[in-house]
């Protein structure tokens, strides 16, 4: 797990990458159930799953995640959140369209997810985030560098509508160059989402 402090937002983002996750469907069901539970039990359950769970296949780099966190924090600070929480806003920021359901379906945890980014955004006071994450996710905590083997570049191109770009087709036989460029483009998409279109 890595933690990134955003001093100008008085916030800290804890980011962990889990591989070989076996209970993705269960996590998804738990989040859905927590949203409708009432009373103290509901609050406790919502707190237990208060993370952004992101399917790692569609993430091109840690910078991609960090950029989505920055834009979500900015929206929270300016009271312009498009979704209910800063965690769901991170997922929304990753998807190029404005459709919230589509963003959650594509970038959030799905029943067949096996690698997940788990993110918790906090004010600077620290809590034991790692054990809280491990209480929810059954999987192996891996270093961020493991992402290199997890990204599904075909899906990234499809969901970001880059498959038809002539220049990207031109360089598709040079994966290092192609992946670096696509990463820079999708990171830029996340950063400029508020002014795209």
């Amino acid at each position: 797990m890595e933690s990134f402090a955003y001093p100008h937002f008085s916030s800290i983002a804890h980011v962990a990458l889990f591989d070989r996750v076996t209970n993705a469907g269960e996590i998804r069901a738990r989040i859905v159930r927590a949203s409708s539970l009432e009373g103290d039990e509901g609050d406790a359950e919502r707190e237990a799953v208060s993370f952004a769970f992101i399917d790692a296949r569609l993430v091109t780099s840690v910078l991609h995640i960090q950029t989505a966190i920055t834009q979500a924090l900015l929206a929270a600070a300016q009271n312009t959140l498009r979704t209910k929480t800063v965690h769901s806003e991170v997922i929304w920021a990753l998807n190029p369209s404005n459709n919230i359901t589509e963003a959650l379906r594509r970038y959030g945890v799905t029943d067949d997810s096996t690698a997940l980014f788990v993110i918790r955004i906090e004010s600077l006071a620290s809590i034991d985030v790692r054990s809280r994450m491990s209480a929810v996710v059954e999987g192996t905590l891996v270093p961020m560098s493991a992402l290199a083997g997890l990204t599904d570049w075909v899906a990234v191109k499809k969901y970001n509508k880059l498959g038809g770009d002539p220049y990207i087709k031109e360089i598709q036989n040079d994966p290092a160059h192609e992946h670096h460029l696509i990463d820079n483009i999708v990171v830029s998409f996340v950063a400029m989402k508020s002014v795209s279109g």
Binding site: E2, S3, F4, A5, Y6, P7, H8, F9, S10, S11, A13, S50, L63, Q66, T67, I69, T70, Q71, L73, L74, A76, A77, Q78, T85, V86, H87, R120, I121, E122, S123, A125, L162, D165, P166, Y167, I168, E170, I171, A176, H177, H180, L181, N184, I185, V187, S188, F189, A191, M192, K193, S194, V195, S196
Partner: protein, 263 residues
């Protein structure tokens, strides 16, 4: 999740205060910043509010320009034009975070006589070459550099993007050892798309070239052979699009940048 208390009504203002000023222009201030701990450097272009404009007009213009610059950069990226990517956009406050380019401006590499540099350079340990053909630490002959300039501008024009302010200060040579340079070769990067727009007209592309020609003439000694190598590389890359632009460039040279004589 808890996000309070916020120390400042505007986090972007706090970010600007914690950043290092690199350059100031009439439209914007440029800073070097980091967006979070452990993050690399990011260039922050902050279009401060203009007291001489009505607040509503100021907000509208700033918003349009930040959005325009962001869109032009992404359009360039998708077309394979070498430009820095975006890292942060706060359109309400006129702030744009742009990928840091580790390198030197073409202007400083060419040695610009006695005029002050528009951008203060990083990498103070790498001294710019004065009158050598190879630049210290960069090892690119002047002529090869001019070919890179012409080729990159042609790629941009083939994508129908007009830069609007082509000068040797708005081009950087990225150092091959830079971590954000996976290709491991020198890379010419076009920067400052604040005045960019899209157009398919040969006229607009010719004016873009004319602005650069004038910039060469006013900042670099013996600019003519330099600019002609830029133009040669540009012609080669543009192929069959060149003749129309070449004819327009002749017209523009005779009459100046403005087509219409109105106003």
């Amino acid at each position: 999740m808890a996000l309070l208390p916020l120390p400042d009504p505007s986090p972007t203002a706090a970010l600007v205060r914690s950043s290092v000023l690199i350059s100031q222009g009439a439209e914007a201030k440029v800073y070097r910043t980091t967006l979070h701990t452990g993050g690399g450097p990011v260039l922050l272009k902050y279009r401060f509010s203009k007291q001489y404009r009505h607040a509503t007009l100021d907000a509208t213009l700033t918003r349009a320009r930040v959005a325009g610059e962001a869109r032009a950069l992404v359009r360039c990226l998708r077309c394979g034009v070498s430009v820095p990517g975006l890292r942060f956009v706060d359109v309400a406050n006129g702030a744009l975070g742009i990928e840091w380019v580790d390198g030197k401006s073409v202007r400083s590499l060419l040695g610009s006589g006695d005029e002050g540099e528009r951008y203060r350079e990083e990498d103070e340990d790498i001294a710019p070459a004065e009158d050598e053909d190879l630049f210290v630490g960069y090892k690119v002959p002047k002529d090869a550099l001019m070919v890179m300039v012409g080729t990159e501008i042609a790629k941009m024009h083939l994508a129908d993007i007009i830069h609007g302010d082509l000068t040797t200060s708005n081009m950087m040579l990225r150092h091959p050892s830079s971590t954000m340079n996976p290709l491991g070769v020198h890379q010419l990067v076009l920067i400052d798309f604040g005045l960019a727009y899209t157009s398919t007209l040969a006229e607009d592309k010719a004016v873009d070239l004319y602005v650069l020609e004038r910039a060469f003439a006013s900042t670099h000694p013996e600019s003519e052979p330099l600019f002609s190598s830029v133009l040669d590389a540009y012609k080669r890359k543009m192929g069959k699009e060149w003749p129309a632009i070449g004819r327009k460039l002749e017209d523009v040279r005779l009459r100046g940048r403005k087509r219409s004589m109105v106003g």
